[in-house]
Symmetry: C2
Subunit: 451 residues, 2 copies
């Protein structure tokens, strides 16, 4: 019935029950179970989304947004069936304002597509979660990644959004100005809300100049704690690194096999320095001094863009190197803790991994205190799966104990719901109140974030 | 009756109806009319604030928070009388975590007190609104100032807060980690909410290393538009200035008189570069090249800290130089617009000032697109006052037309309420819904932000 209405309102080409499409929109890249929606819509405009919402509200149907499907916590899995709204057709760069260092895009534009477009003009959108995620999905999960140490998360890069609410009302949040003290800050409320408060149809983003010079470097240490301490020293020295990543030997071994690389299989730090020529050289020089003072085993730095590209390609493949092993399932923790707690946290996670007979590795964005404990287990082996889940619980519990968060960048989705009460305490009531206020029928991405 | 309860609950020394205190807590530094509260409370702990809130709720009494009283939009004026909660006694630095580059403070700590404490450890809290504002007040208004071009606003520097809600519930928002994708981002909802959603009793702030080297510089141009264009060029070049301020001749003339300075009375840009030695020299060098290419009349740069301190002291006094003239009232606009709109906006405001027989000047944070049109009029002269208000309206209207905001850093308070509907459109309904959700009786700072 409601599907007929959707076809009537949007036209046949924007509404499908094709089985391949239903399957394609049944899950993201996480290990959370696939659930097929009843129908997939491909809106092109804000008005199309309004029509979908009005029908969904009338018939009380669940609406789950779907971007590039690269999420890691099941946010895009339509667990209650109903309508999936794909942003695939909302792929236009609406307005590029070079003089404002800003661009307005539809949510289905991916970060690589955007960068391909703006790189010609000497600009870059630097938030880099690894996957070629959609900008809408990145906003919905408050994504970040390897460059967060300098640029922060999506919440730091979004100026303005257009959002369709559950009742079909179109609102805008924020302005095109760089800062504001006017009214409540609704941008940040919707960023990271994973489609549970509204559907984002336009985003105005801050852009950055492509740095004049980039140097990358890597070094290794004897222990993971020494790596974490070294990373902390760099930040305390005020060196404005653009990337600073920790990787453990297990992960390097795995990615060497996966991608045919030959990186030393040791506790490693990978750096990127970016900016004006002299500044960058000065930063790399001082970082090397700090690393050597702290007893690094080696230091290699280079300006060659081919080597650099390979390094960050390998970094991005680390997660895939675990996830895409035949016969294995894998997932990762995503805790983020105060910097001072990072050495003992990484030590704690390393210990857990080596104590249990479980495949895994640790890597992450040590400049933010954010790291991933990758946990792999044989498909169908319940015992191994339980051990992996228990390790994850222990890592998260400890992160919360030391004042951190259960998710630094992946979002809550299905996988982090259990930790929300513990992390947020009383303020969870405010979150639930806001959800109830904006989506009283509970049709927007039901079954996510809140138990 | 409720005042007896306050005395009973908090003790006499924390509750006063002393006339001097009532007067001292009747208004901030704005031109908005003073209104005396019925009682002023001086809590010391979160628990004290809980007690006050419970009594206020029971007796349905307005509660207005009061920090250093340096606000510019009347946020601290208790327009409905009732209780003023002063943060004067909540002046403790609770926990300084050097390794995390973080500090937890009570809301009454002022930014200079905080900096005096942490500067010893090589760190700085860089948000600088000019006045020695309280950290709580700065959070409540999402303050920023001369360094926002590099560090953003308060919203970019706050990790975690403890907040007492209208019903006395204590909640925490955010975590001590640098980033999070967990649940809705309530930090940003409360930051800038001007005490209308809750009373902040603890704040964990991000700190920054004191830069190794600082260079300041200034230059002048023939027109205000040229200044704005020059500022834009600096940003497009990716130079990470720490301060970049525009000042018009009227303002320089006024502050020269006020503070006995001898700055050239021309359209001026003031710069601060800060970081590692070579980087800073490189930045200053390139900025000078850009300025000369664009036809600046002169360029003076220096590392001398005395000259630099005098310059920023003068910059901070610009507002006072207008506000503290015997027999005159003064206020300023606080619009913030996309960078590309800044040259025409400043030209527009300059034109309005010169067209009308009204004293005023223009200065502001051109790196953010945020500037102030200072408007002064003879006390009691209704005609002049009306002209000033009309100019303000025109400046704000134009800022909104070009995609900007009515207030970049001062907040809404009493002075920007009229522009909320126009700026926020439909999303104002969400804001009001949240206010109703969290403070159904409307006792928290009534009469502010919303009409």
């Amino acid at each position: 019935m409601y599907i007929d209405k959707l076809v009537e309102s949007l036209g046949e080409e924007k509404v499908t029950q094709n089985k391949t499409e239903l399957t394609r929109h049944s899950q993201d890249e996480s290990m959370h179970s696939a659930v097929k929606p009843d129908v997939v819509c491909f809106p092109v405009t804000t008005e199309d989304v309004v029509e979908i919402m009005k029908i969904a509200q009338t018939f009380n149907i669940a609406v789950t947004p779907f971007g590039a499907g690269s999420g890691l916590e099941g946010q895009a899995n339509p667990v209650n069936g109903g309508i999936v709204i794909s942003t695939e057709g909302m792929n236009q760069i609406i307005e590029f304002r070079a003089d404002d260092l800003a661009v307005t895009v539809q949510p289905g534009v991916t970060r690589l597509t955007l960068n391909k477009y703006i790189n010609h003009y000497g600009m870059t959108f630097p938030i880099d979660p690894g996957a070629d995620a959609s900008i809408g999905g990145m906003a919905a999960t408050n994504a970040s990644g390897t460059t967060a140490v300098r640029y922060g998360s999506m919440t730091d890069q979004i100026l303005k959004m257009t959002i369709v609410l559950a009742d079909g009302t179109v609102v805008t949040t924020g302005t095109k100005a760089k800062k504001s003290s006017s009214g409540y800050h609704l941008n940040e409320l919707f960023i990271g809300s994973e489609g549970t408060l509204g559907f984002i149809t336009e985003l105005t983003l801050t852009l950055h100049g492509i740095p004049e010079e980039i140097i990358f470097a890597r070094c290794t240490f004897k222990t993971p704690s020494l790596c974490a301490e070294a990373a902390q020293s760099v930040l305390l020295s005020g060196i404005n690194v653009r990337r600073m990543e920790f990787v453990d030997p297990n992960t390097i071994k795995r990615v060497n096999q996966y991608g045919g690389y030959t990186y030393p299989e040791k506790y490693s730090l990978f750096f990127e320095f970016a900016g004006m020529k002299q500044s960058v050289e000065e930063e790399a020089f001082f970082t090397e001094e700090i690393m050597r003072d702290l007893g690094c085993e080696n230091w290699e730095a280079a300006k060659d863009s081919k080597d650099r590209e390979e390094l960050w390609k390998a970094r991005h493949e680390m997660s895939y190197a675990f996830r895409h092993v035949q016969g294995y399932d894998a997932f990762s923790s995503d805790v983020c803790v105060p910097l001072s707690e990072l050495p003992t946290m990484i030590h704690f996670a390393t210990d857990l991994l080596s104590k249990h007979a479980i495949k895994g590795g640790i890597f992450g964005h040590v400049g933010d205190g954010n790291f991933h404990t990758m946990l792999a287990f044989k498909h169908g082996n319940q015992e191994e799966r339980d051990i992996a889940l228990k390790i994850n619980d222990q890592v998260v519990d400890r992160a919360l104990q030391v004042g951190g968060t259960c998710t630094g960048e992946h979002g809550v989705g299905l996988g982090k719901m259990d930790f929300q009460a513990k992390e947020h305490g009383n303020s969870l009531k405010i979150m639930k109140g806001i959800k109830q206020l904006v989506d009283p029928q509970g049709i927007l991405n039901p079954g996510k974030i809140f138990k």
